[in-house]
Amino acid sequence: MKITASTIVKSSLILLLFFAMAAGACKKIKDPTEGAKLIVDYNLIKTSWSLKFIDAATGEIINNSEVEIRVNGQYKDDVCDITGVLHTDYIYHSKEGFFGCAVYNVKPDPDNPVIFDLSFSCQGYIPTSVPVVATREDHFIMEIPLVNYNNLPNGVVMQLATAQTNNGILTENLQVTTAAIPTTGKTASLTIPAGTVLKTGDGSMANGSVEATLILFSNMDDESLQAIPGGLIASVEGATDPKMFFSAGFVIIEMTDGSGNKIVTLEGGEATLEVGVADQTYNPDEGRPALGGDEVSLWSYYAPNGERKYEDRTVTVNTKNGLMISLNLNQLAWLGFDWAWNSMCWDGAPLIFNSQDYGCDCIYLEAIVREELSGNNNILFTLPVYACLGEEYPITFMPASLPVSIEFEAPCSPTHTAQQTYYFNDLCSQEIIYIELISGQNLSNVILDVSGYCPEEPDIIIRPTVGAWFRNINDWCWRWTFMTNGYANICDVQIGETYVVGIYYDGEWEETEVYVTQEVYYYHQIELTYDICNNLNY
C-alpha cells in the first residue's frame, strides 16, 4: 500500500471534520421542559359569588374589620370558598371588605335552584344576612350594606336606655324612645314596667344594670330600606323559597345585662312596643296606602341563621300622631312589620346590553330596582350586574306582576344607559329587555395577566378563573370584572392613572397596582396560600 502525502493531508482533513461533527453530536442533552411551566387553568368553579361589604351610611368598603360569614340552608354542604376549600364549620371570613364563595357538586337550573343563606357579623356593625339564589351556572356579584352602630344610614334611628335590676327583676320602669326619622317623623318606643323578670337565653336571671337598645328602620328611605337586616327579600322559616316584603318598618330590640349577657325573655310583666308607621306606607294586600285597621304581619328575624319567622298579625291603629302599630312583648327580638309579596319567579326577563361605542366586551353595572306600585318609588334592592354586550343576562328571583323601575349605574365610569330610568310592568315576563349603553368618554382598556404559584413548585403555574375587583387608587368605588384563565379586562381606565386590582381567595386578598400606560398587558404573580399549595399534589 502506498501512502502518499496527498493521502495523509486528505485523511487528516477528513478526521478533523469527523471529530468536529462528533463533538457537535455528543452535546449534553438538556431537559426540554427546563424553564417551561406547567400552566393550569383553574376553571372548575362554574357558579360563584363575589361579595363586597360596604358601610350602609357612607357606601365605602368595610376594610378595617373582618366580616364573619356563616353559611346556612339546605345547600350549605355544597358551598365552598372559590378555590374549592370547604370549611366544615360553615364559617368564612372576609378580607379587606371582600369575600367570595361558590357551589360545587350542584348545578343550578330553574327546576333545581340552589338556595342558601349567608349571615354576616362584624364588630361594630348590625348583623344581617342575605338569601342566595342561583338558577344557572354563572358568576354573580353581591353588595352587602352593613349598618355601623356609630354611623347610622339615613332613615335609621337608635336610642339607648339603662335601668337597674335586682335578682333579675327590673326595679324601675324602662322606657326607650328613638328620635323621629327625619323623612317620616315616626318614632319607636319600648316600655318595660318595673317588676318584670328579665332572663337571658339560657334562662339565667339578668344581673346588674341593663341596657336596652332600640333601633328603628324607616320604610321610606333608600339607605334604610337597603340596610334592613336580612333585606327585603329574605328566607322564611318553614318555606323552601325566600319571600319579598313590602315593609311597614323594622325594629331591633336588644337588651344586655351588667355581664354583657343578652336578655331574651320577659316574665311577670309585658313590654309594650309602639312603632310609628309612615303615612305613605303602601298596603299591597289592599292595593292602597295603609289605613288604620289594616292587618300587617309581624315577622321576627334571627340574624345568625338569616331567617324570618312569621309570628302574628298585628293591626295598624290611627292615632293623633298618625298610623301606629302597638304590641305587647314577652320576648325581645328583631321585628319586621311587612306584607309579603308572594308571587316571585326564578328567572326574570333577560336583559341584553348593547353599545355602539363601549370599548370592552363586558361592564359592571349596578341596577337599582324600585317598586312603582305605591307611588313611593321605594327601593327594593340593588342588583349588581356584569353585563356582556349582546349576551342575555337573566335576572334571578324577581317579583312577578309588580311594576318596577330600574336605573343602571356604572360606578366610576362615564358609561351610562341611553335612558336614565327603565320601567317594567312585570320583571317575570320573558320579553327580552334591551338596554343601550353609551360610553361617555374614550377611555382605555388594559388586560391584567395574573398567575399564581407555590414557592415549592415554581414550575407549576395556576391561572385563576375568578371575579376580580378594581378601582382608581384615588377613588373608593370598586368595579368588578371577571378573570378567565388569568386574564382580566380592566375597562374604562385612564392613561396616566394608577389602578388597584384585587382578588379574594381562600380568606386572602391579593392586590396589585397597575399604572396605566399605552401598554395593553400588565403582569402580576401571586404566591398562593399554604392551603392551596398543600393540595397541589396530584
Binding site: S11, F18, P32, L38, Y42, L44, G84
Partner: protein, 226 residues
Amino acid sequence: MKKILIISCILLTGMLPAHSQDDYYGGSSGDYPIVGIGVAVNTFGPGLEVDVAINPSFNIRLSGNYFQYVYTGNISRWKVYGNYTATFGNIGLTADWNFGRIIHLSGGVVYNMTQQIIDGSPQNNYSFGLVQVTPEQIGNVEITITPNKIGPYLGLGLGLPLDRNHLASFFFDVGAVYHGKPKVELEANGMLHPTASSGQAKIMKENLEKITFYPLIAMRLVFRII
C-alpha cells in the same frame, strides 16, 4: 445545513479519483459493479441495506432503519406522569469512498424519521376541598420533538469493501447526521390548555437548539449477491 451538504458533496466527488483502485484491491474494473444486501444495527435502529460497489474505491448504499421505544417516567418538575414514545428511523442514500485498505469515508443524505413524543398527564384524582378533579379534567400535555426530515450524513468506517473474493463484508461506521435545530410542537388540553402557548414552545425549542447533530454508530454485515 446547505454548507455541510456542499462540503459533503465536494469531499465525496473531489476525492474519488485521488488514487487508483487497483492500488489497494487488485481487482479489475471488469469485476464491477458488485451488488450486496446487508443487515445493519445502528443508532437509528436495526435495518436493511443494499450496497452497490461501482468500483473498488466507490460504493453506493441505500439503507433503512427503524426502531420505536415506548417507556414511562415522571416529568418531575411538572409532577405529571409521562408516556415517552421515542421513534428512531432513517432512509439513507450514502456513498462510501474507500481511501485506505479498510477505511472509508461516507457521505450522503438521510431522510430522518426520528421523533420524540412526551405525553404527560396526571394519573390520580386530585381533590381540593369540595373539588374533585379527574385526570381527564386536568387533561394532558403532549410535546413532540422533530428534527429536520432531510439532512446530510458524514462518517468514517472500517471494513473490507465488497469484492469478488469475499462473500460477505463487515463494516463499522461512526458518523453524524446533521438535522438542524429540532422543532417543538406543544399541545395541551383540559385544564392544562394554557401550557401549550407559543412562548412555552419557544423555551423548549431553545433548550434543544444546540442539538443539531445526531450521532450515528453502525455495524453492518453485507452479503454479495451479484
